[in-house]
């Protein structure tokens, strides 16, 4: 097979069509529903095809439908698909009304056939529809077309930047279980004994390596050693202290938070970004994803952890920049927005708190489902809902809590 240039599927969409992308980025399949007459419509448009109302809302819809017809395209005018034919497409009548052109999973039997449809982000980061078998089949995620849309860690090489934390260790275990070929695990102070790290280091897939995200040389050396092999980078490095502004003197703690949470991401992005972008078109085991451990506090400041919130807000902004720069290569940047994690830095916070293992599970699911913004756990879900509902009200609620 000839070396692939980082070709992407056609990414241009009208503004109204990007509503489907916004939902798919968070793992939801939404179509436009008319508030006036309840019609569901697709392709997206700015008024209702039935009653002409413009009160259209993107709403979750059921993916059930019937495959009316299908084809396997062997000749495409598009350079991305030209390299990937044969390519299976289906025409689906969704139970809720509209007719959809979908990418068709290889295990969906010929029409007529029941199936389910979902929206996924493609390599260009834009939502596309996929027809899947009505019920799960073995090794469903291995489908060649589906794998173009996902970042499944199976068969891939992963760097977890910090294995000292509970979240880092949970992620390493989960990645190993998910079939990652090789997992490099960074630890910033190799001479220090860290609880749990030995157990992780004993996994056959794992290689420990020194990595300190606050040290430019350390990041550069690690990138020089393994940067050209990393398919998925999971940045778990995090510095977290409680307190806001008034209860602390000086800027030392805030600087340390920024140095890990913001500058650490920047250093990693500068050193690992170029090599990963260059390898994004390497076929089924290409460089594929970059995962950032952010915080729900990145959306709105939690004064009790005020400087930490600020560093995560800075990291979120930088991660959006990273996503924009990775997109042309087809690399997905996944941001995690957990609520308080059940670790030593949140001991004083009352439950519910999210367990490190739950975060790890959410990361694996996001990689497999091609999602780019993840709000794991009930707390994160609720904060997101409050933020969506009214960010100003949330600011007051957080100030009072």
């Amino acid at each position: 097979m000839r070396t692939r240039l980082p070709l992407l599927p056609p990414a241009h969409r009208s503004r109204v069509a990007l509503g489907m992308t916004a939902a798919a980025a968070e793992g939801r399949f939404e179509l436009q529903r008319c508030a006036a007459c309840d019609a569901v419509q697709y392709p997206p448009r700015e008024t209702c095809h039935r009653c002409l109302s413009d009160r259209l809302h993107w709403q979750l819809v059921g993916g059930g439908g019937e495959l009316i017809s299908h084809t396997s395209v062997l000749h495409s005018h598009d350079p991305y698909f030209r390299e990937r034919v044969p390519w299976r497409l289906g025409l689906v009548k969704l139970d809720c009304g509209p007719v959809l052109v979908v990418h068709l999973h290889g295990d969906v039997a010929p029409a007529p056939q029941r199936l389910r449809v979902g929206a996924w982000l493609d390599r260009a980061g834009t939502a596309v529809l996929v027809g899947l078998p009505e019920k799960d089949v073995p090794n469903m995620a291995d489908d060649r077309q589906l794998r173009e849309l996902t970042c499944d860690p199976k068969f891939r090489k992963v760097l977890v930047t910090d294995g000292k934390t509970a979240v880092g260790q949970a992620l390493v275990s989960a990645l190993a279980q998910a079939g990652a070929d090789l997992i490099w695990v960074g630890h910033s102070e190799p001479w220090k004994h860290v609880a749990g790290l030995a157990a992780v280091a004993n996994l056959p897939q794992v290689t420990l390596l020194p990595l300190d995200v606050t040290n430019a040389r350390s990041v550069a050396e690690t990138a020089a050693e393994i940067g050209a092999k990393v398919d998925i980078l999971v940045n778990t490095a995090e510095f977290h202290r409680a307190q806001g502004i008034a209860s602390r003197h000086g800027t030392e703690v805030a600087r340390a938070e920024m140095d890990v949470n913001y500058f650490g991401l920047l250093r990693l992005a500068q050193e690992f970004g170029p090599a990963m972008r260059a390898r994004a078109a390497d076929g089924p085991t290409s460089a594929t994803a970059w995962v950032n451990l952010l915080s729900i506090f990145a959306l709105s400041n939690f004064p009790a952890h005020g400087t930490f919130s600020a560093s995560k807000a800075a990291a979120l902004s930088l991660a959006q920049c990273l996503r924009a720069e990775m997109q042309p290569a087809g690399l997905r940047v996944i941001n995690l927005f957990p609520g308080p994690i059940d670790d030593e830095w949140n001991q004083l916070l009352p439950p519910p708190k999210i367990a490190p293992a739950a975060i790890a599970k959410a990361v694996i699911a996001a990689l497999r489902d091609g999602v780019e913004d993840v709000y794991p756990g009930d707390v994160a879900e609720e904060w997101r809902a409050r933020f969506r509902d009214n960010p100003k009200v949330l600011e007051r609620e957080l100030a009072a809590s």
Binding site: S14, I68, T71, S72, V73, L89, V99, T126, V128
Partner: protein
């Protein structure tokens, strides 16, 4: 509904073609201009005598028919731009005929022309429509191939049509093309070659798809009096229909707008399917031929496969179909593809065919179909034409 007024007194004359080429470095404007020049040359009219202009072209942008008036040095008192792809000729003719009847124009030049650069087909696909850009192009479908593959798959499954049935139409049209000096495909096609050709989008194979090319077509529309005084052989327009976005509730396009309006068409023409001596059906894929045979009343719904097995479709055989070879054998010159059948029908009915003549041709049916906006073609139409002395 108000009864459709007849197209009495309208003549369609001077069928011209700017010969097709696979690729051209010329612009669409050049093809339109060269068709106009041929219309003038063959009618003997001065350019300023053409006081109506109707243009169809995919690749005129950023210009439209408006810019062409200055480009071509014309001052028409009636101007239209019909961006309806394969339905352009039918729609243009309906409008031009009414303009002539009403006295809004004396002589209307109806012209379609398009160029084809090496990359223009792909570029056109990406910008074809908002729905195509949002909901088809990102799937690698690359234009109408996938849409017609869906339809062909469904049609075969529900009617029992075989690839050989579609192949028979393609082979017959190729036979018809062999006597047409302007057809881009000049070699005989066998059913065996059709069946073993490489797949493009299953179940479509190579010879089910048209080849994009450059070229132009045109006719003049005027009163029969004017045509007679100019001593131009002409045809009469007996009936005409158009319909857009027919049957939107159908989950897949198994019928087109023809089925809605065909009774009107035949009533207006005072003729029926059995009276047609030749069919010029829009043929970007053979399944569309089959659908039109049904929707235009030549056989019952779903029975085109049997109808195909019973006829030869060759110019001198039974049910002569696409007698110049159709787009499948002549090539698809963008919007001019919508005019190919009209121009050929006028040639046949006025006794000036480029290739073999349909014996004693008196009536022709010409159809149009165009604009795969998302999952189906939105525009459909048809004309019934008769020999001028009929």
């Amino acid at each position: 509904m108000t009864a459709r007024a007849p197209y009495a007194g309208v003549a369609i004359a001077v069928p011209v073609t700017e010969p097709y080429v696979r690729y051209s470095i010329r612009s669409a404007h050049w093809f339109v201009a060269s068709v106009l020049a041929k219309l003038l040359q063959q009618s003997g009219l001065e350019k300023l005598a053409i006081d109506g202009l109707c243009v169809s072209s995919f690749l005129l942008a950023p210009d439209s028919a408006v810019g062409l008036t200055q480009n071509l040095g014309m001052s028409p008192r009636w101007l239209d731009h019909v961006p309806m792809g394969g339905a352009s000729a039918v729609v243009a003719l309906r409008r031009a005929a009414r303009a002539v009847q009403a006295g809004d124009a004396d002589v209307v030049a109806c012209i379609a022309g398009d160029t084809n650069h090496v990359d223009s087909f792909r570029a056109t696909l990406g910008n074809f429509s908002q729905f195509a850009r949002d909901a088809v192009y990102p799937y690698g479908a690359g234009g109408p191939n996938a849409s017609f593959a869906f339809l062909t798959d469904y049609y075969m499954r529900t009617t029992g049509a075989q690839r050989a049935d579609f192949g028979k139409l393609c082979v017959a049209q190729r036979d018809n093309a062999l006597s047409n000096p302007l057809a881009l495909f000049k070699q005989r096609l066998t059913l065996e070659q059709y069946l073993v050709a490489r797949p493009i989008a299953v179940p479509l194979h190579l010879y089910d798809c048209v080849m994009p090319c450059a070229g132009g077509e045109g006719v003049l529309v005027m009163s029969t009096d004017r045509a007679q005084s100019l001593r131009l052989p002409y045809v009469n327009l007996l009936g005409a229909i158009e319909r857009h976005n027919a049957y939107p509730e159908d989950p897949i396009q198994m019928r087109g707008g023809w089925a809605v309006d065909r009774d009107d068409l035949y009533a207006q023409a005072g003729l029926g399917p059995a009276d047609m001596d030749l069919l010029e059906l829009y043929d970007d894929y053979p399944v569309i031929n089959a659908m039109q045979l049904e929707d235009l009343g030549f056989c019952a719904k779903g029975e085109a496969p049997q109808f195909i097995r019973k006829n030869t479709f060759t110019t001198t055989g039974t049910m002569p179909l696409n007698t110049s070879g159709g787009q499948l054998s002549v090539g698809q010159a963008g919007a001019a593809g919508g005019y190919l059948g009209l121009v050929e029908a006028v040639r046949q009915l006025t006794g000036q065919p480029l290739g073999e003549a349909v014996p004693n041709a008196r009536h022709a049916l010409v159809s149009g179909f165009g604009m795969i906006n998302y999952d189906r073609g939105l525009c459909s139409g048809a004309l019934v034409l008769s020999r001028g002395d009929a």
